[in-house]
């Protein structure tokens, strides 16, 4: 009986004292933090300039006396990469107070603050006993003294350039929040010789212009090389005996095969994001239409069937859609269509002719060449056609290709006259336009995915 009473009392009727003290306690708790948090004045700050990050990169230390050269080389490549991206301003080594930095200790940040560095990279290269090369680096925030990133890599000594690119990517990602693009390659058409008798060869190089390699001999005209997502194959067009054909070239083995046997001419091939198919345009009679060929089964599928010229297709990174150029409406415009064919939607509506559309690896933009008003421009727009911006205009600009992080575009420009075309890169904000170093004249660039 007593139990029942007490239990009933506890569950249904806390006594008044408990109630009052409970409310008091809750009130005290609720009141205090609110007061504290709202005691601060909030000052909005909105205006800051975008400016490249001043970064200091002293020479990588040499783990063994013979590693000085490779350390300096790695530092040079990293510095060059970061500077060319336009987002970093490497400080001249002559200004450093401390030329040789001990990798194993925390740096003296005052030395770097005094030259206005915001970030500091220290590193070391050490040749191992088994012949491998060990590369280590650390990225420091000078203002707070905190380490931001650090890694250690083991590789064959001849791969020191790739290590430099990988380290550059790490620094870029940590400081900008975007994925890097330095560890990639560019395939292009190298042009040499007199203007009337240009010799065009396929060439492959690192994105900073190093390690140039020629893939064809130049006896035949080659055009529009494109990388496979697996990076070991390139598809391109060659004007061999008879009509132009689409070829598949394995970079490592050098083997070459024709992509299908089609009557008529085939143009502008591109890989699908999974690397299993090649999409291209086939010309039959007066019009050209889009076809997809599966590389393994060799079966082809027709995607468009119009009397117009449909060409220059490009897959979206998720493989669900393609964008292409078509003059079915009169002038060349850009259309978007489901990857399996179907209703095509026009997305370009400005004044002029739009051609060579290419979908960004991030899926957020489509880059194109626009011709109008006597000028050639490279521009970008969103996949629904909105937000069109032109990044560069001039006598001639053509053939954009995206870097693997979708933030930089490469294209080629022919100044006319007796000269020849060159490759240029520009950020998608329109800034940092600069020339890409090539051994001679160059055109038709294509950027590979990240190698790592």
């Amino acid at each position: 009986m007593t139990d029942k009473d007490t239990s009933r009392q506890m569950t249904f009727r806390p006594n008044r004292r408990q109630l009052v003290s409970g409310i008091t306690a809750v009130g005290l708790l609720a009141g205090a933090p609110v007061r504290f948090a709202q005691a601060q004045k909030r000052i909005p700050i909105q205006e800051g300039d975008f400016a490249p990050v001043p970064i200091a990169i002293p020479n990588f230390a040499a783990g063994t006396p013979s590693d000085g050269e490779v350390g300096a080389g790695v530092t040079q490549v990293i510095t060059n990469n970061l500077r060319r991206s336009g987002l970093f301003a490497p400080i001249d080594q002559a200004a450093y107070l401390e030329k040789v930095v001990n990798f194993d200790v925390v740096p003296q940040f005052n030395n770097w603050k005094s030259i206005n560095a915001q970030a500091l990279v220290t590193g070391r290269m050490t040749r191992q006993g088994d012949g491998r090369l060990k590369a280590e680096f650390r990225l420091w925030d000078v203002a707070t003294g905190q380490p931001l990133a650090g890694q250690q890599y083991f590789t064959q000594p001849e791969n020191w350039r790739r290590i430099s690119h990988i380290i550059s990517d790490q620094i870029y990602e940590r400081m900008t929040g975007e994925k890097g693009y330095f560890d990639s390659r560019v395939v292009f058409v190298d042009e040499t010789g007199a203007k009337e008798r240009r010799i065009k060869r396929l060439a492959l190089m690192d994105q900073d212009g190093a390690n140039v390699r020629y893939l064809t001999r130049g006896s035949d005209l080659v055009l529009t090389p494109r990388f496979s997502p697996s990076t070991q194959e390139i598809t391109y067009m060659e004007f061999g005996q008879g009509d132009p054909r689409v070829y598949l070239l394995n970079i490592e083995t050098g083997q070459r095969e024709i992509v299908g046997n089609f009557p008529g001419m085939s143009f502008s091939p591109r890989f699908s994001p999974d690397g299993q198919r090649v999409i291209m345009s086939l010309q039959q009679g007066g019009n050209s239409n889009l076809f997809v060929m599966d590389l393994r089964s060799k079966s082809t599928t027709r995607l468009t069937d119009t009397p117009a010229i449909d060409t220059s297709p490009s897959y979206a990174p998720d493989g669900s859609q393609i964008c292409f150029e078509s003059d079915r409406g009169g002038k060349p415009q850009i259309y978007v269509m489901p990857a399996s064919g179907g209703q095509a939607q026009r997305i370009s509506f400005g004044d002029g002719q739009y051609s060579t559309p290419v979908w960004s690896p991030r899926g957020d933009y489509i880059a194109f060449t626009k011709q109008g008003g006597g000028q050639f421009s490279i521009g970008i727009m969103k996949p629904d056609g909105s937000g069109e911006r032109l990044l560069t205009s001039g006598f001639h600009n053509e053939g954009p290709t995206f870097a693997p992080n979708g933030r930089v575009l490469m294209f080629f420009r022919d100044p006319g006259g007796n000269g020849g075309p060159s490759l240029f890169t520009v950020d998608i904000s329109g800034r940092f336009e600069q020339r890409e170093p090539t051994p001679g004249f160059a055109s038709d660039p294509a950027w590979s995915p990240l190698l790592s």
Partner: protein, 308 residues
Amino acid sequence: MKGKIEKTLIASVVLHILVLGWGLLSFSTKAFVMPEEETVAVDVISADQLSHVMAGLKTGKKENPKPLVEKVAEAKPPVDDAVGKITEKAPVVTDTTPPPTPKPVEKPVEKKPDPPKPVAEAKPKEEPKPVEKKPDTTDPIAEALKKEKPQKPVTEAAKPPPQPPKPKDRTFDQTKIAALLDKRDPSRQAVTGDTLNSNAALGTAKGSSADNSATWGAMFRQQVERCWKKPYGGIESQNPEAAFSIRLKRDGTLETVPVPEGTPATPYLRVYQESALRAIIECQPYNLPAAYFEEWKFFAPVFTERKS
């Protein structure tokens, strides 16, 4: 039994304090809401306002809360007395005389030559009507402020009320100005100096009366924006925002590392936050008016792309 009574009494007292305290605090937190406009030290005196001031007050009403003038330094002769008193002396004196402000208390306060600022202004401004209201609120503040330099708050508090009625009273009289101009030189300066109220906002309903955040907030913002290198956001930034709470010492250096509010959700937001943190650290020491140290020793700068 006795114990019980005491406990309930205590609980009752505590609850009362809580409720009343919450009421007080909720008002004062509103005062901290800073008006969004950029307040920069700019003289925006319209011609007739200037003439009003110059014209002096027959009736001794000195109005004119000049809009946004941060001329802290100038602070000279306070409002030009309509009476045409040459204000070579401490403005205080002149100020106090003309306006029939029923605040004798404040006059002595004015006498301080140091802040020849708006404080002096404030006094003359008060009109008889609003004055009654004012004295209640401002007097205690004035008293408190007497102890220290910044008497601006008083000025500011005083300003809003006088503002509305003032314009009606003034009529532009050229001759008067001409007559006054000759002697006016010092007072002219005073006028501008007086306008020190950094808060035109005081006239608004927000009524952040005892707050000078517009002054030191603008100064802090200008200084930190110098160092802030925004990270590359590509074209579409995700409307990033990074807020910190910082503590400053009297000399304008950071007392502790700024504490960020919240953790960034994406790599870009993290980089954004870090860039703001770097900016705060690099731009110290901050040159902020020592007078308002109590306000800026602990506050929250918010770095944002959002245009509110």
